[in-house]
Each structure stands twice: as structure tokens, then as C-alpha cells.
């Protein structure tokens, strides 16, 4: 059992602001300032109390490091590109369509796929927190959760896309999806020209995470010299 002795100054106080009268604890909460130590203290405590199994934590970490990630979404997109019937089903009922490929996890139940076309470009954000389609994209990158992206994606989507190296013509309609409820959004990027002969697996390999958030396009592989 590890113990951690803490200096008073090495504390971060949370929960200090609580103005609206709901029945909560109003006291400050003191915890050590170093997150790695604090996490270790918390895990040890929960394990000691018999509330958490460290092996279960290992499994959860492994699932998101190795199994649930943007490769899942890329397979969905590639299938939609090669199979028009699948694409129809995906656009009508995203949750069921990703379940066909075996993806239907946390935050994936209410999934809506939005399709990019030459006229419409979709961009996904969560201005209020960090909602993201875990089942098909895994956990979000830091920039997606950051204040700069969350603040600007809705007011200046063209500027944001420019920062990602994507300049869209004035005529293109940009549709921003702010994930304010439990609906999750997956962008189906445009299939690049010159990929007619690629296999579904090769197509999936082209589909980047960012293209399924809407901050990138998908490009055909450069011809081999």
C-alpha cells in the first residue's frame, strides 16, 4: 500500500464554485497536484476498498489503445464507398450500419453519418465538452478537446479548416455539427478520384481520422515511380 504525504501548497482545489443551490458537497476538495501521483493514490484506494479490479482497468486501457480507434471508422467509410446499398443504410441509420461491421460501443448508439459532396462539407465539434463517436473513432485527439478548436469551429469554420491546410471554395456549404446531445456524428469524406481500382482494404488505409471529423479530405495515393 502506497501512501502519499502532501504539502498543503501542493493541492488543487475544485468544486469551490457552486452557486445554484443543488444538494452537493460545498467544501473544497483537496488532492495532490501531480496527476500521476493523484491517479495512483486514487487507484490504490479504490483497489484497497475492493471497488476496482486493476485487471479490469488494464483491459479498458488496452481496448482503447489497441482495439477501438479510427481504423474502425475507416472501414465503415471504405465499405460505404464500395457498396452503395451499405452507404444508403449508413446514411439512414448510422448506429445499425456500424453494428453490421461489429462496431456499436459506448457513445456509438445514436450515430449519424453525414456525407461530404462537392457542394457540402461537414465538420464535427463539441463546443460544450468533448463528445466524439468513440465506437468508430476511438478517443479524440487533444486538439479536438481543446479550447481553440471548440471555440472557433462554430464561428469560423473556414479559418479552422485553413489552419488544417484545407481551403474550401466560397460556393461550398459548410455544415458544422455541434454535438450538444447524445447523437454522435461521423463524416463520410468524398472518395478521391483515381481510386476506382483500389480494394476496400486499400481504400480504408487512405481514410484518416481527421477526414472523418471533417478537418481533412482524403487524397488518392501518389502513383509509384
Amino acid at each position: 500500500m502506497h501512501t502519499f504525504s502532501l504539502q498543503p501548497e501542493a493541492r488543487v482545489y475544485i468544486g469551490a464554485v457552486h452557486a445554484h443551490g443543488h444538494a452537493h458537497d460545498h467544501e473544497h476538495q483537496a488532492v495532490p497536484s501531480d496527476p500521476a501521483l493523484r491517479t495512483k493514490a486514487l487507484e490504490s484506494l479504490l483497489v484497497e476498498k475492493g471497488l476496482v479490479d486493476p485487471a479490469a482497468l488494464d483491459t479498458l486501457v488496452d481496448a482503447f489503445e489497441n482495439k477501438i480507434g479510427p481504423r474502425n471508422g475507416a472501414r465503415v467509410v471504405a465499405r460505404a464507398w464500395v457498396d452503395p446499398e451499405y452507404k444508403k443504410r449508413l446514411l439512414v441509420d448510422g448506429g445499425s450500419a456500424i453494428a453490421e461491421l461489429g462496431y456499436a460501443g459506448s457513445q456509438g448508439e445514436h450515430l449519424i453519418a453525414v456525407e461530404n459532396t462537392p457542394q457540402v462539407h461537414n465538420l464535427v465539434v463539441c463546443t460544450l465538452c468533448s463528445c466524439y463517436p468513440w465506437a468508430v473513432l476511438g478517443l479524440p485527439p487533444v486538439w479536438y478537446k481543446s479550447a481553440p478548436y471548440r471555440s472557433r469551429a462554430v464561428i469560423d469554420p473556414r479559418g479552422v479548416l485553413r489552419e488544417f491546410g484545407l481551403e474550401l471554395p466560397e460556393e461550398t456549404e459548410i455544415r458544422v455539427w455541434d454535438s450538444t446531445a447524445e447523437i454522435r456524428y461521423l463524416v463520410v469524406p468524398e472518395r478521391p478520384v483515381g481510386t476506382e481500382n483500389l480494394s476496400e482494404d486499400d481504400l480504408a488505409a487512405l481514410v484518416s481520422r481527421d477526414s472523418m471529423i471533417g478537418t481533412a479530405k482524403v487524397f488518392a495515393p501518389k502513383p509509384k515511380p
Binding site: 493514490a41 485487471a55 483491459t59 460544450l128 455539427w177
Partner: protein, 220 residues
């Protein structure tokens, strides 16, 4: 609440910093915080909305300063203390003060893989709620400023949009976050023209869609 978490439309937050080949977790502790969050969520003592609200309650300066998983860690500790599962003294000493653990669901290693893929359901199709709007209706988001949790961002309040999709009936975060019941309500995708939200400088073609519950809206 009109909190710092409601970031949409703010200026001055700086450039978007991207990282090539970003790992899922930058440090082992981040993965542990994520996994602990899922494991303690399985206790069923609080819900997703309460959990979000706990992060919104962080002091604004801390909210902006702390990394994502630091916020999750602070939130987890706060929720565990608030719900009487651990004490402040225990987290400060890292040592359990009481032997008897509260009777809570302990996620086993065998369950964890399925739990990672668990379907969280927030739709309540059988709930009795009246839909006041249909697709195509012009609506105005209410100018409301509740001190508690809400999912109607400030930037859309008072603005006019059009119902573009009816999602069904869903748990209402404004009550659920405060343990006042799920009180399910109809949920819609509402399309707001960029110019309605941001003025004439915005592109005449662009729009923002928000998912908004029936009580957030009035007929325009």
C-alpha cells in the same frame, strides 16, 4: 450554467495545436484515469449528465489550465467524495480509513472488454412526451440562463433556426444532471444559418446544426 465550458464563438484561445502520430494516452496515468472513470461509472451512483456538470463546476481558471485528463481526475475524485464512496482524508493519505467497502458494482476483468463496448442508451422511445415541433418548423432557441446544467449553448440562445430532423425522445440533461429524473423530451436537430448566429460577416452558405430538446425551443 453560463460557464467557461461553453466555449462556442469565443475568441482569443490561440491556434489549434496538432500533434503528428498522437498516442491515445500520452502518459500511463491518463489511461488509468480513463479506465477508472469507466469503472466507477459502472457503480451507477451518478449519470453522464451529472458527470459532465461536475467538470463544468471546476473554477474557470482551472478549467482552462488543466489538461483533459486532469479535469477527469478532479471530477472523479469530487464525485467519489460527494457520493460518500471515499473521503477527502482517504485520498489525501492514499489509505483506506474504513475496511468495509460500500456495496457497489465492481467491474470484473472479464466484464471489462464488453464494458468498453457497452451501449449507453439515452433514447426513451416509450416515454410520454409531447412533440411541439415537426421537421420544417421555424423555431427560436429560448433566451434562458439557468444556473444549473444545460446543453443549450449561449451562442444559439435567442437565435432562429429550422427543425431539420426529429431524433426521438431522449433523457433531458437539465434535470438528469441534478438527479431530478430523466424527464425525457423530444430532441431535434436544428439548423441555424451562420449569419443568424454570427452576423453579416459570416458566409451566406454556412450553417451550424445543434441537437436541442423541446423545452429549449419556441415557435418563431
Amino acid at each position: 450554467m453560463n460557464g467557461i465550458h461553453d466555449l462556442g464563438g469565443m475568441h482569443g484561445m490561440g491556434p489549434i495545436v496538432r500533434e503528428e502520430n498522437e498516442p491515445v494516452f500520452h502518459e500511463p496515468w491518463e489511461g488509468r484515469v480513463y479506465a477508472i472513470t469507466r469503472a466507477i461509472g459502472a457503480f451507477g451512483k451518478w449519470n453522464l449528465d451529472a458527470s459532465r456538470h461536475a467538470i463544468e463546476m471546476l473554477p474557470p481558471a482551472d478549467y482552462l489550465r488543466m489538461s483533459y485528463y486532469e479535469k477527469w481526475l478532479a471530477r472523479n475524485i469530487g464525485l467519489l467524495i460527494r457520493h460518500g464512496i471515499i473521503t477527502r482524508e482517504e485520498i489525501e493519505t492514499g489509505k483506506a480509513a474504513t475496511e468495509a467497502a460500500p456495496a457497489l458494482r465492481r467491474l470484473s476483468a472479464a466484464e471489462a472488454a464488453a464494458h468498453a463496448n457497452r451501449r449507453d442508451r439515452y433514447s426513451r422511445p416509450d416515454a410520454a412526451a409531447v412533440a411541439r415541433f415537426v421537421v420544417g418548423d421555424r423555431v427560436r432557441a429560448r433566451n434562458m440562463n439557468p444556473e444549473g446544467h444545460t446543453r443549450l449553448p449561449r451562442y444559439a440562445r435567442g437565435k432562429q433556426g429550422v427543425i431539420s430532423r426529429h431524433h426521438g425522445i431522449f433523457v433531458f440533461p437539465d434535470t438528469n444532471a441534478h438527479f431530478q429524473g430523466e424527464q425525457p423530451q423530444h430532441l431535434y436537430s436544428v439548423r441555424f444559418a451562420a449569419r443568424e448566429l454570427w452576423g453579416d460577416e459570416a458566409s451566406p452558405r454556412d450553417c451550424v446544426h445543434l441537437d436541442l430538446w423541446d423545452p429549449y425551443l419556441d415557435h418563431a
